[in-house]
Symmetry: C2
Subunit: 361 residues, 2 copies
């Protein structure tokens, strides 16, 4: 397997020394930033995540900060989701689209105040789209990437660990809500969120220099909880049906095809409104179970129904807990409902497969 | 060294099978796409590039295609460079900026026709900025990423190799000009350009399925020329002073700081015009020679003049041909002119260094 070449363009994070010390084996690149993918190996990392607690360097979840008089106006222009319902302590998952309804990113947005939003982006430079719209319309906003580096604490023992460092107040944070809590005298946003279904928190670490002190404090406080460095786990995220922008969804797809129609409810005149309503769609994201031994899913695998193309697989891996290959695919909504027997073509040949009704976790 | 994890989000290219067969050792990720960085090793790759001819998979140089009635209007709104001088067989290097004059990308643009431009982008999703502007202004354009994959042929023997595959017409292509030439019955853009100063061409391979046939044909035709798979070489590009967006230049910098003021000559009302004219600047890109043994430059190295911070190093490596460490840095324009003795702090400590007057190649 080829190695990854260090460079400034592939950014290190405040937590990189901790990740390296923990013996990271593999990386991916996400928002021009290093993101660990494996420490021990996928399977051991997975069992540990589901059993104990892990600290994840997810500084690659870059924040786009929108500040100024027109911040709310701009957000409403961009968002298909009704932002009037977004409370000031709340995290909102929003499928962001272009004028044709194609998905450009699927960030989590938070409202810091009436004139300030942070958009925690998936892997595309969505900042540039926001900036293009604001520049073209000469809006009164500043758009930048602040020195904020999210650190995730994930796993069933995450609440206990977090309480030891941030106090018992973390226990009262509800799902996809946040509080501003103190670390070394600095107020930081602590949200109950994260890219796993094993429960957990994300700390929006405010200032590069606080990164390693917080990392070390969590590691030291969690020794008896068997805390470890971890990262988003491929097996767990597919079992949980957590989409990955760029893998499972791209600008080719609308939020409807991504199965995100419930997040399209804005009553405002957002940019893609008209075209999104007009676009028909005949495929949708589904959980799929694949038979046999499968290779690494580094390219689209075509899906066949009675010999005819009916979609693609976009993510797949073997799941030890469910003893099968779990996968995410986009297939014909009518021809391939739950229960349909299909065939999948990987780089190693054809495999029998089945469309499932729900994800595994 | 950690490995890179395969996934669909980090795209393979039409030439990936060729790159893998040639024994790629390391990758970087560029525009969400695999880009080889090393085959034999940096030094051997470098000597070979300067002596013979290499085939480079630079499909990561994604094209943003702008088509439609408002294509020219949009390009003029975006470009600080005077596009009235852009001929239809010409390649134009353009530092693209936002409304504040900050650089968003430094692509090469070509004009395909009155209503069509292709922008060959560096490593940022500049498509999203163009799209944001077009969507906000409701311009009559289509903006997409066509199925075009650049393949570079670089090195002193590149013209001979290209003539064997595309005919002697390639010899008459001037620097940064292009012709449409046939490969297997398909017309493709062939430009005299590329990310090295060893002379060469870039073929805008039109259609994924033509990728490996062209790769194989070039490899077979060039055996006696000692052709090899290669990639942009870190040593050669620093010697040549070829900037890397994301390494040497970011949105923090104006084209003036990047040393690109000669590409700011548009008479049109482009978006950043007003602010760019108002922005003062006191630092600029310079070639810098660093003493001693240096580590991998994967983070900014501060530069000191008489103990005071006066800039940063953004790219650096040892050059066998010049028997010194060649580097690119951004330093105070007045305090650190050519000849100035400075100090550079790497992760291994302090090094003496000197600002040079020109790059090495």
């Amino acid at each position: 397997m080829a190695t990854i070449t260090p460079s400034i363009r592939i950014r290190r994070t405040p937590f990189s020394p901790g990740v390296e010390k923990a013996g990271v084996k593999s990386y991916t690149v996400y928002n021009h930033t290093l993101l660990a993918t494996e420490f021990d190996n996928y399977v051991e990392d997975y069992h540990h995540l589901k059993r104990d607690v892990q600290i994840w360097d997810v500084a690659c979840e870059k924040q786009v900060r929108i500040q100024g008089f027109d911040a709310e106006k701009l957000m409403k222009l961009l968002s298909p989701r009704d932002l009037t319902k977004l409370h000031q302590d709340q995290c909102f998952y929003i499928p962001m689209i272009d004028k044709n309804g194609g998905m450009l990113n699927d960030p989590v947005a938070i409202k810091i105040g009436i004139n300030e939003y942070w958009v925690s982006i998936a892997d595309s430079d969505y900042l540039l789209y926001i900036l293009g719209v604001a520049d073209a319309l000469k809006l009164n906003v500043t758009i930048d990437e602040p020195d904020i580096s999210p650190l995730a604490v994930q796993g069933p023992k995450s609440e206990d660990l977090m309480a030891r460092v941030f106090g018992n107040e973390v226990r009262s944070i509800k799902f996809f809500r946040y509080k501003k809590l103190l670390f070394e005298g600095r107020k930081m946003i602590v949200a109950r969120s994260g890219y796993s279904k094993q429960s957990g928190f994300e700390i929006y670490v405010d200032g590069f220099e606080y990164g390693m002190p917080l990392w070390d404090k969590l590691m030291n406080a969690g020794r008896d909880l068997n805390v470890r460095a971890g990262c988003p786990n491929l097996i767990e995220r597919i079992e949980s049906g957590l989409l990955s922008y760029g893998n499972d969804v791209t600008r080719e797809h609308t939020p409807f095809e991504a199965g995100l129609s419930k997040y399209v409810d804005s009553k405002e005149e957002f940019l893609g409104k008209l075209n999104l309503q007009k676009r028909s769609f005949n495929k949708i994201i589904r959980p799929i179970e694949i038979d046999g031994e499968i290779p690494s899913c580094d390219r689209h695998w075509p899906v066949f129904l009675n010999g005819k193309r009916t979609g693609i697989i976009t993510s797949a891996v073997y799941s030890p807990d469910f003893n099968c290959n779990v996968a995410i695919g986009m297939v014909d909504i009518e021809k391939a409902p739950a229960g349909t027997q299909i065939e999948v073509e990987t780089q190693n040949g054809f495999h029998k497969a089945q469309v499932n009704s729900q994800f595994w976790n």
